[in-house]
Amino acid sequence: MSNDTSTKRESLFSKKNRRLLSDPLNDSNPITVQVLGICSALAITVQLQQAVIMSLSVVFVMIAGNVIVSVLRRVIPDRIRIIVQLVVIAFLVALVDEVLKAFQPDISEKLSVFVGLIITNCIIMGRLEAFALANKPGPSALDAIGNALGYAWILLAVAVVREVCGSGAISLPGMGQVKFLPEAWFISAGGLYENNNLMILPPMALITVGVIIWWQRSKNRALIEEN
């Protein structure tokens, strides 16, 4: 009897639930391990500021989506569950888009189509289907935060590498792009340095993600497959 209540009153921050938060950052990272959401990692990592806003938007959509689906999990008919998930995500993304347009017009303009692209982010639907449909809202929220942050840190890392190497600059929302390399270093001004334009092109996003996967597996041997 006492045993029963203790499992029911499992603390939100029990060891099991803490793993929901920490696993996606490393062991089951949505991008580098599950290889989901690659499409947007490719599209919006040219500049850091876009990646930051994109990450924030994904964090919001992910948490709200996971909690809504988790709350509704007992009443969502099985046959239309994918459609329901899609509607929930599309609804949240449309909401984010409208709010950005009204209150952050400059950032909304910079992100343009990419906000809409959140709908196609496989990570979000993947978590709704795999986790939120079978778990309570609390753990679902933690799972959402973990996965969104796991997505976000890869996105930010790739964006930093691409912007520094490709544009010789770093940009953050609200402060614009800061070019930190002195003009005199560039070949056009008689120096020896030139920005690598290849870094700006989409293929380099995949190669950068590949390098991160390589580095991660060299640190975390458990991720290396048997054969």
């Binding site: 008919p77 239309i80 459609i83 409208e98 009204a102 017009p105 189509v113 334009n197 092109l201």
Partner: protein, 245 residues
Amino acid sequence: MPFNKNSNGFTFFFSILMVVVVGAVLAVTSVSLRPLQKANSAEKKMINILAAIKVPAERGGTEEVFAEFVTARIAINSDGLEVGRMTGPVDPSNLEDPFNIDIKKDFRSKKPAEELSFPLFECVTASGDQMYVVPVVGRGLWGPIWGFLALEVDGKTIYGAVFNHKTETPGLGAEIREDFFQEKFLGKSLRAEGSPYFEVRKGGAVTDDHSVDGITGGTITSRGVGEMIDRTMGHYMRYFDLMKK
């Protein structure tokens, strides 16, 4: 009768309810945020027009600066005749106001030029020179591109240019909104003899007084910039010619 979430009836009920709720919430959000969004885009337009005549403006308080530097808003038809003129504060809901002519929508609608009217902004710069600002809109590689050209009182010499885009490739076509590209237009002039009034040539090409060098790797976007200036200026050249007579 026990509740069965997988029955046909409940599935229909759930879908209908879901669509109604989601639709209602989105509609309410959209309608309630619409005035803010409209004000934002009107403000952005003012900032762009002011940027073309090199008057810096930031969000918040743009209207006073706009009223100070933009003396009249004119609408002309495709023959270059003036069909409307407004002064005083901009009213975003007054469709008669040439400020509210949506040239992007007109461009998309593919209506013949005879049915459209074209907005023109009469401005004075900080140093007191008279200027005209002409909005232009065209097609890039992935989506719409647009801009504002400031012309000196002769209707030919380019005093300032700002361009923007929706979805051009970052680092390539998207560079049209950067200063290094827009500065190339300064001091150039539109060809008086006829079309092409202005050209953006392929990267590295020799340029003269009526053309600028395009962006390497952004050929289609650059060509779009040239095309939109050339096409739009056709209508305005008639207006400037008539005015001189």
